[in-house]
């Protein structure tokens, strides 16, 4: 994992510096005086050669210092601490939606192959995978918030509610820890629409993958044997077939979490969700190297961890897989 992170850091750092443009100018604005720009560059060490800057960055990184964001003028670590929990909450919720909707849809699609449900489900998956996230978000917001008034508007919490005592940054967890049930309920309600918006694409992908994996498995000999033994159909499907079908599906599930983490910027914009997506985008546009590096490293870490967990689950599921 360390090698992966090292590679990511080198690539990101040098790509960010190859892009033409001056982050200091963007940070200080059009009116900035020359002496201020020079002072700013010196303060951030931006006037030194790129390899030196990289060495300085890496040496600070080993001490846990992610540097100072050129745009927000705060330590990148502070920025990440502020925005990462919101993204984790949203991505996890979207992921849950994708799993709870996608896997059953895929299973049922495979079991009822070529019947009505299968056709509808496959059409749904096609639409879900092609629907622009931005439009879906506005559609859901317009329908469920504006017209029907069933769900609240943007943000993580209603304006009138004070956030619970901050401990993890995850509103749901903090609300439970503080025993603040009103905040918990409110936060959950605010999570519904953005999670649906963000999760639809992954739902479609997971449904399709589950369906094709199940279909492959359902025609295997051992399934015929199980049926011949007189086992009830749902046991055959749920216990024997599903377990084997999950192996290729798990890979997709792991990858989809990574894409949810980093791809939430449009959802975050519509629902005013203070997450990493918008932070990453703003940093990229303003060439804020420390922030871009910080976000990339964090996402890389989370991503590799999730895939590690997926690999471990493989070992449990598939007795043929052995790790040293």
């Amino acid at each position: 994992m360390v090698l992966v992170l090292l590679g990511v850091s080198v690539l990101t750092f040098f790509i960010a510096h190859v892009v033409p443009g001056d982050p200091v100018l963007v940070a200080l604005g059009e009116h900035a005086r020359e002496e201020q720009i020079v002072a700013y560059r010196r303060a951030y060490g931006l006037d030194r050669p790129v390899p030196v800057q990289y060495a300085v960055y890496m040496s600070r990184l080993t001490r846990g210092d992610l540097g100072i964001s050129i745009r927000t003028r705060r330590p990148v670590a502070d920025d990440l601490q502020e925005f990462l929990p919101a993204t984790i909450e949203l991505s996890s919720a979207a992921w849950l939606v994708a799993l709870l909707l996608g896997i059953p849809a895929g299973i049922l699609s495979a079991v009822f192959k070529d019947r009505t449900f299968d056709h509808l489900s496959r059409l749904g998956a096609l639409i879900g995978a092609s629907f622009p996230v931005f439009w879906l978000g506005l559609l859901l917001l317009g329908a469920f918030y504006y017209r029907l008034r069933w769900l609240p508007g943007p943000g993580r919490l209603d304006v009138v509610i004070s956030p619970p005592q901050l401990r993890t940054g995850l509103l749901l967890v903090d609300a439970v820890l503080a025993g603040d049930w009103e905040a918990l309920r409110n936060a959950l309600r605010h999570l519904v629409l953005p999670a649906l918006t963000l999760g639809l694409f992954s739902t479609a992908v997971i449904a399709r993958m589950t369906r094709s994996a199940m279909l492959e498995v359902l025609y295997q000999d051992y399934i015929r044997t199980a049926r011949a033994k007189g086992l009830r159909e749902w046991r055959v499907v749920a216990l024997h077939a599903l377990k084997n079908a999950m192996i290729p599906t798990l890979t997709i599930i792991g990858i989809s979490f990574g894409s949810l983490l980093s791809g939430a910027v449009l959802t975050e914009t519509i629902f005013a969700w203070p997450g990493l997506g918008r932070y990453a985008t703003a940093s990229a546009i303003s060439l804020d190297f420390p922030a871009v590096m910080g976000v990339t490293l964090v996402v890389a870490v989370v991503y590799t961890q999730v895939n590690l967990v997926v690999d471990l689950i493989y070992a449990r599921l598939d007795p043929r897989v052995r790790y040293e």
């Binding site: 963007v26 059009e30 020359e34 925005f83 069933w150 309600r189 005013a272 203070p274 918008r278 303003s286």
Partner: protein
């Protein structure tokens, strides 16, 4: 699965039913919800804040010595200073302020002349983005502001600085008076309290900062120690909502009282609804094209005049911007002293071609134009304005290649004098005509004129003279001379001055947008 279903149904109903619990709470009568894109909020310390959102908050929690109220940017009103005098000592200007007695900070401590001196010196000492307003525009150093007694402040300006410009700088966020004891109590590593004042307030304004959650919301509450009339609304929540469609939903459904970033199309739609109204806001920005006066054939004054004569300004304002802007062709915007309403240019292909012939380029020429990405002021895309300009110029035989460039890169190229034509906007840093005149006219100021390689000693001299002229009538004449000169000789095509628009609930009253990009919530009621 069978056991799970009822649980899932229960969960679904709990989440969507509005009947249980507080449901969708519309803001109470004593809370004003203002939704806007506040992603540019970096710091709420008045010595550091130089972004629109930071200025909006700072102008409500701090007071300056003098102020421009509402939309009037020509008459200075007393705030923390009851009166002021300007004296010419021969070698310098002495500006003396008499402070209003009995004013307290939100902390309860009294406002003194020492606090004013501390606040001004603090800006200079911290040397952040807005520091140049005191250091360069007013020529101040630390120590030039002195407390004569507890209610009298004296500021010594060099003769090269304009007292009028200084006074208008003092009306801006950077002139905010900060509680020195509070700043010192939270000092860390010689930062004069900057790290703490980033997200806490210590001012005399009608509101205090209760909290600021980055990219989420800033909450202001009424200051119990405020010296003036209590604000009508006790609590203001400035909520971060980056998408204008979402802002529109919120105002229409009553969850927000004021939306700051709606597009002209949305405004037209909302004007027809019964529970919301649309209000315009003046801005001091100018959208212009800069022409590099050293890049042939733009180095010929007649070629520049030909370009100015080719563009369909009325079409841009009428069709592209649908009236969300005013046609302005001179360098001082409407609303400031010295505005010149002269707008002689409108698409005249014959005239343009004749000028090109006289300049020796009868067959036209090719040129690159840098254009920013994204939306331009007035609710239209930069690329749309660029396309219109390109089409207008092609009629005169000038072939424009549009180069959409990200801001970071565009500023880089422009500031290095490497642009050929650059489409961009400018807003003054302080509400004095010199905030535009000097940058546009004086090559030595290393600002806009410099970026366009425009060296005009006569214009620079006029700008300096006008900045320092104490007599209003004479000053007006000087600005007329300067703006007329730049109108025909300068390297600029001034396209328009945009307006902004707000959507408000019908019951909201007293909201006035100050063109220096903020509003005072103390006058708002609902």
């Amino acid at each position: 699965m069978r056991k799970l279903m009822p649980v899932l149904l229960l969960l679904a109903s709990l989440l969507t039913s509005p009947a249980i619990g507080p449901g969708l709470a519309a803001p109470a009568a004593n809370t004003l919800v203002y939704v806007a894109d506040i992603s540019d909020m970096i710091s709420l310390d008045p010595a550091v804040a130089y972004e629109f959102s930071g200025i909006l908050v700072a102008q409500n929690v701090y007071d300056t010595l003098v102020a421009f109220e509402g939309e009037n940017l020509t008459t200075l009103k007393p705030r923390l200073a009851q009166s002021w005098t300007i004296r010419d000592t021969g070698s310098a200007w002495n500006v003396t302020f008499k402070l209003r007695p009995g004013v307290k900070f939100s902390t309860g401590r009294p406002v003194t002349a020492e606090a004013v001196a501390f606040s001004i010196d603090r800006v200079i000492g911290l040397n952040k983005s807005p520091a140049f307003l005191f250091k360069d525009v007013a020529g101040l150093k630390e120590g030039d502001t002195r407390a004569i007694d507890s209610t009298t402040v004296e500021v010594t300006l060099p003769k090269t600085a304009s007292p009028q410009a200084f006074l208008s700088v003092m009306s801006f966020t950077v002139g905010a008076v900060v509680d020195p004891d509070e700043a010192k109590a939270h000092e860390s590593g010689g930062d004069r309290g900057e790290a703490w004042l980033r997200n806490h307030s210590a001012g005399t304004g009608p509101y205090m900062l209760e909290r600021w959650d980055t990219e989420s919301r800033a909450v202001l509450v009424a200051n119990p120690n405020y010296w003036g009339t209590k604000p009508k609304i006790a609590r203001v929540v400035i909520q971060h909502v980056p998408e204008s469609s979402t802002q529109k939903f919120m105002v229409e459904s009553g969850d927000a009282d004021i939306a700051a970033n709606i597009t002209p199309e949305q405004a037209r739609d909302m004007a027809r609804k019964g529970n919301v109204k649309v209000q315009k806001g003046k801005l001091l920005q100018l959208v212009y094209i800069g022409m590099n006066a050293k890049h042939p054939p733009l180095d010929k004054a007649k070629v520049r005049e030909a370009i100015r004569s080719s563009i369909d300004y009325d079409g841009i304002v009428r069709s592209l911007l649908r009236g969300e802007a005013r046609k302005v062709q001179t360098i001082v915007p409407e609303g400031l002293f010295g505005f010149n309403a002269s707008a002689p240019f409108q698409a005249n292909v014959a005239k343009a071609k004749a000028l090109l012939r006289e300049a020796g380029v009868p067959r036209g020429f090719a040129v690159d134009m840098l254009v920013p990405t994204g939306p331009a002021p007035g609710g239209v895309k930069w690329s749309d304005i660029a396309a219109k300009v390109q089409s207008d110029l092609s009629k005169a035989g000038i072939k424009v290649t549009i180069k959409e460039t990200a801001q970071a890169q565009l500023l880089n190229i422009y500031r290095a004098q490497k642009g050929q034509m650059v489409m961009i906007l400018w807003g003054p840093d302080f509400p004095d005509p010199d905030g535009n005149a000097t940058p546009f006219s004086d090559y030595g100021a290393k600002s806009i004129a410099w970026r366009n390689a425009y060296e005009d000693a006569a214009a620079a001299k006029l700008a300096k003279q006008a900045a320092l002229e104490p007599d209003s009538a004479k000053r007006r004449v000087l600005y007329k001379q300067l703006t007329d000169r730049i109108l025909h000789q300068g390297p600029y095509v001034i396209l328009y001055q945009p307006t902004t628009r707000f959507a408000l609930r019908k019951s909201v009253a007293g909201f006035v947008w100050n063109p220096m990009a903020f509003a005072e919530f103390r006058t708002v009621s609902k």
